[in-house]
Symmetry: C2
Subunit: 281 residues, 2 copies
């Protein structure tokens, strides 16, 4: 980690009494900084604000959050390089016990990391996935959000430890595919694009939102619906998206292989030509 | 909070990079210290170790954990007073990203708090509960455990803010009562005692375990089964238990009233006469 700011001070530690540690009482966002711009900032901010409403947290102004990220980035060694800005929002210090006031004023931590390096061959040849044994609990009040309660993702990711898989897909208990540990998944069949419904669990990724917007604008037929793991084999193509690597074709998920990326490549170039929502810094 | 120890040092802060903060990657226990003894220590330890197995965390020896609590207590201002010892176990400092090694060596935090004060009238007249709107997600891999992912309990407890309710009951999405935000619930009907099944969500409290053991030993008929919120009205008596306050009769849950605590009192005296598993310190 390069640099962490809170209340305009460089910090390395937080209080043990912070509710972020005690209960995971908070949210986070990881924003890609590319060519001096905050990629999909408006979408990150929108998810964060939705999360704060559900968690009954009062956050500073949009402008303060943006400026804090920018200052943290500029003060870091990574200034002028591709980077990741991570905002952690917590309910701050509290007494023992789950309870706290409604609309608690949040504490914020801003930190900068080097951009994730993805081997360029993965964009060309596609990546390999596996179905994780770890299932996502359903009907979570925080479905779709990026809260600090991320044990399911941690446990799913631990399954990949020591394997060659790029990403793990997680299912709900009914064998519906939901999302990757760090990405959202899309499938293509003929002229339609399918992606799992995320009403009951999973994370609504900002790149997923951006892609859905692009596809919609270009009259692609998109179906957001439950997708069973057993149905994956019937799709022609598959790809994953996230805020850091963008879009990656999928060549395999366990025994299922996809050998063509024809339409996936079309979507990749469509996304490249379509102006991504950025925020100058 | 009085005193917090980690690695034999008094500390007030932890690293921002600790996975406990970043992802709620850890567990905790709150142990009652009464008359110089750790109440139900073996049950706390057993749940903690089960949790560490599921979270793939390697913790220090039982002896080290116990000694650390004892030292933290003895060094605190609360020495010789009733107190609460809180152990937080996390996966320690990590890089960005959900992944980590299997069997990660844990970090431990030991802290001491004053014992919770419960108005003695509550033991006599019973407490008042309410059904929370916040539902518990089902089929969680961490059902039964006390992980650092506690947003559901936080949100349920926030609902009680500014009300006179002593505790909130949480349900799963199918209207099954699961447990309180900080307690387990029992109901009595004729000669049977009922308590919700906790296979899919909820916390398996140590006092619940202790009570089930006592009841079993004395040939009470116990039914661990799904209990619908709508069925509460058919029970004769209700009570809640947790590791700090022990057992409290329930006089009301929203519109449902229970006016007799006859058998609940019998169970209270049974528990008082039955040696609670303690650990001398």
């Amino acid at each position: 980690m390069y640099n962490c700011f809170s209340n305009n001070n460089i910090i390395n530690n937080i209080s043990i009494e912070d509710r972020g540690l005690q209960y995971g009482d908070g949210l986070f966002e990881t924003i890609a900084i590319r060519k001096g711009k905050l990629r999909l900032w408006e979408y990150h901010l929108s998810r964060l604000k939705k999360g704060c409403k559900i968690l009954s947290l009062k956050i500073p102004s949009d402008d303060f959050l943006k400026k804090s990220i920018i200052n943290t980035y500029h003060d870091s060694e990574l200034n002028h390089s591709p980077a990741i800005a991570k905002i952690i929002i917590t309910a701050g210090k509290g007494k023992r016990g789950y309870g706290r006031k409604k609309n608690t004023i949040s504490s914020e931590l801003f930190s900068i990391f080097p951009a994730t390096q993805v081997d360029p061959i993965n964009y060309k040849n596609g990546v390999e996935l596996t179905l994780c044994k770890t299932r996502l609990a359903v009907n979570s009040i925080t479905a779709g959000l990026k809260t600090l309660n991320r044990l399911e993702q941690v446990l799913a990711k631990i399954e990949l430890e020591g394997t060659h898989f790029f990403e793990g897909l997680t299912m709900d208990p009914e064998n519906n595919i939901i999302c990757g540990t760090m990405s959202n998944i899309f499938f293509i069949k003929e002229n339609k694009i399918y992606t799992p419904c995320l009403k009951k669990c999973g994370v609504r990724g900002v790149m997923r939102r951006h892609l859905l917007f692009c596809l919609n604008k270009l009259d692609f037929l998109v179906r957001i619906q439950p997708i069973k793991a057993g149905d994956m084999q019937y799709f022609d193509e598959a790809f994953i998206v996230n805020s850091q690597f963008g879009l990656l074709p999928v060549k395999k998920c366990d025994d299922i292989k996809w050998s063509t990326f024809k339409r996936t490549r079309k979507i990749m170039s469509l996304m490249a030509s379509n102006n991504i929502i950025e925020c100058s810094i």
